[in-house]
């Protein structure tokens, strides 16, 4: 199982409502994924030269203030941060690699969920409603968002195993389905220097896309290659800095439905997740073709 939802707003004036519009979409997919949930929201961009990271700690009362003080001292760069439940969003005027190295040293237990100029990935175990309330989804602003509700089949139910997975700067992946060759692909990618934190099949798909992009593929080329190299069932939604993409495997066992109006493009595993959107009764609604990439991006 698992449920996928995505919402891309065409009009900047609607950005204040992104979380409010998206929350019922995520919660409508509870039946498909009651064990964990998460989302990647895009907005609140940092300036050039800055990087934004979403961090997750195991303990809810983690000492973020202490860590941020130590980090600022280590990096000697200006930084800004705020806590959101078990997560913290960190903005630093510094190269990403230096921040990662400093964090690995100062707080090896803290996990980096995402990095980029726009993306924030927030996820965890629990019902979708609990996750959206935990992180205050309804009040969030942004240009676009993709989310996932998980019913685990391939690996353990953990925060790390929940979606979205980061696949590079401002990129992330959510997945409905299961990959049958993930062990082989993981082994090959490890050979090429990629690292993995879980036994999760989607992490392998995310790692595969990251690796392809590092090899110089465009997003479209990377996804075309994934159709050849990843064996199994999947509907993928990929968040990018400027939009999102949807692709289904050639067999197309896993569902997906798309809807478009003048105001938004929305995708979901099932129509009932779209039913709460304004103007949906007049929207163009269709099922994406197998092995075909659909992409929406701001110019």
């Amino acid at each position: 199982m698992c449920g996928i939802v995505g919402l891309y707003l065409k009009k900047p004036e609607l950005e204040g409502q992104l979380g409010k519009l998206f929350e019922p979409m995520l919660e409508a997919m509870t039946d498909r994924g009651p064990d964990s949930a998460g989302f990647a929201i895009y907005g609140d961009e940092v300036a050039d030269g800055w990087v934004k990271l979403t961090l997750q700690a195991v303990e809810a009362d983690y000492g973020w203030k202490h860590l941020m003080g130590a980090l600022e001292g280590r990096l000697g760069c200006s930084l800004d941060w705020f806590q959101n439940a078990s997560a913290a969003v960190l903005k630093v005027n510094c190269e990403e690699e230096r921040v990662r190295a400093a964090l690995a040293d100062l707080a090896p237990d803290v996990r980096i969920m995402s990095a980029g100029q726009s993306i924030e990935i927030l996820k965890g175990m629990g019902l979708p409603k609990e996750i959206s309330e935990r992180f205050g989804l309804a009040n969030m602003k942004g240009s676009h968002i993709i989310g996932h509700t998980r019913m685990a089949t391939e690996s353990a139910v953990t925060m790390e195993g929940s979606h979205p997975f980061s696949t590079g700067a401002d990129l992330c992946l959510v997945h409905n389905g299961s990959l049958s060759n993930h062990n082989n692909v993981r082994r090959e990618l490890k050979h090429d220097g990629m690292t993995f934190e879980t036994e999760n099949d989607t992490e392998v798909a995310a790692g595969y896309l990251t690796w392809r992009l590092q090899q110089g593929d465009s997003l479209k080329e990377a996804l075309d290659h994934s159709l050849e190299d990843l064996d199994g069932f999947f509907t993928f939604a990929i968040g990018t800095r400027n939009g999102f993409a949807v692709i289904r495997d050639p067999i197309a066992c896993k569902p997906a439905i798309l809807a478009e109006t003048d105001d938004y493009v929305a995708m979901a595993s099932e129509y009932q997740a779209l039913a709460s959107l304004p103007g949906i009764d007049k929207a163009k609604v269709w099922e994406p073709e197998p092995a075909t990439m659909y992409i929406w991006e701001r110019a």
């Binding site: 067999i251 197309a252 066992c253 569902p255 439905i257 099932e270 129509y271 009932q272 997740a273 779209l274 039913a275 009764d281 609604v285 269709w286 099922e287 073709e289 197998p290």
Partner: protein
């Protein structure tokens, strides 16, 4: 006429009302909002109008009822239908009419992958196009497609007859194009009439089983 509003009533309440001792002959279902299992297992000759999009398995196992969906449907519309009729004014997702034994399923828009998979006697008429692997292992009944068909049409087909007006991306194993004789033109005309589509039967092609996979061939034993 009886109206059930699914913004307040549950799907179970709808289906229970449609079973047992049904007095009303005409039913209207409002605010379906993509919910699953709407109007399943109906056993009476009632008319049901679903006013909006439906989710999975809508009108599944239908007997005798005439069910119209004024919108799209999800996976498995009219799966295992026995008799009666189901009309989808929009498009259908995968496995429309799967394993259905009888009745008429009309889809005015497109149908997704595996339309009519393992169908066992139902008639399916699609106004638009159908996806890949349609009529896989289909045993009996007729499938009419006014648009195009996707890959592997009629793979491992038994005795279902398939009529396609547009292009067929590829035929599955043991499915071949067959001669359109007068009796086929007649049955196609009758099916198009019943579905309410104005099309020239002569513009369709017929596909059926080459019947080469019916019996086990001992020469293939090493493949198992």
């Amino acid at each position: 006429m009886k109206t059930i509003d699914l913004s307040s009533a549950s799907v179970r309440e709808l289906n229970q009302a449609l079973h047992g001792n049904v007095q009303d002959r005409e039913w209207v279902v409002t605010h379906p909002d993509g919910k699953h299992n709407l109007a399943v297992g109906v056993n009476d000759a009632v008319s049901i109008d679903i006013q909006g999009h439906a989710g999975y398995y809508c009108a599944g196992m239908n007997q005798k009822a005439s069910i119209t969906v004024h919108g799209n449907v999800g996976v498995g519309v009219a799966e295992n239908m026995m008799s009666g009729s189901v009309r989808v004014k929009g498009s259908a997702s995968q496995a429309a009419g799967a394993t259905a034994h009888g009745g008429l399923l009309v889809i005015e828009g497109d149908a997704g992958a595996r339309c009519g998979i393992s169908m066992k006697g139902v008639d399916i008429v699609v106004g638009g196009s159908i996806g890949h692997m349609s009529c896989f292992m289909a045993q009996a009944g007729r499938l009419v497609v006014c648009g195009d068909a996707g890959d592997a049409l009629g793979d491992s087909l038994y005795e279902t007859r398939i009529y396609v007006k547009g292009t067929v991306k590829s035929l599955g194993s043991d499915c071949i194009e067959k001669e359109m004789r007068s009796e086929h033109l007649e049955e196609l005309k009758e099916l198009l009439n019943r579905a309410g589509f104005i099309e020239d039967p002569a513009s369709f092609k017929r596909y059926g089983s080459a019947r080469q996979l019916y019996n086990f061939k001992v020469d293939n034993a090493s493949a198992y």
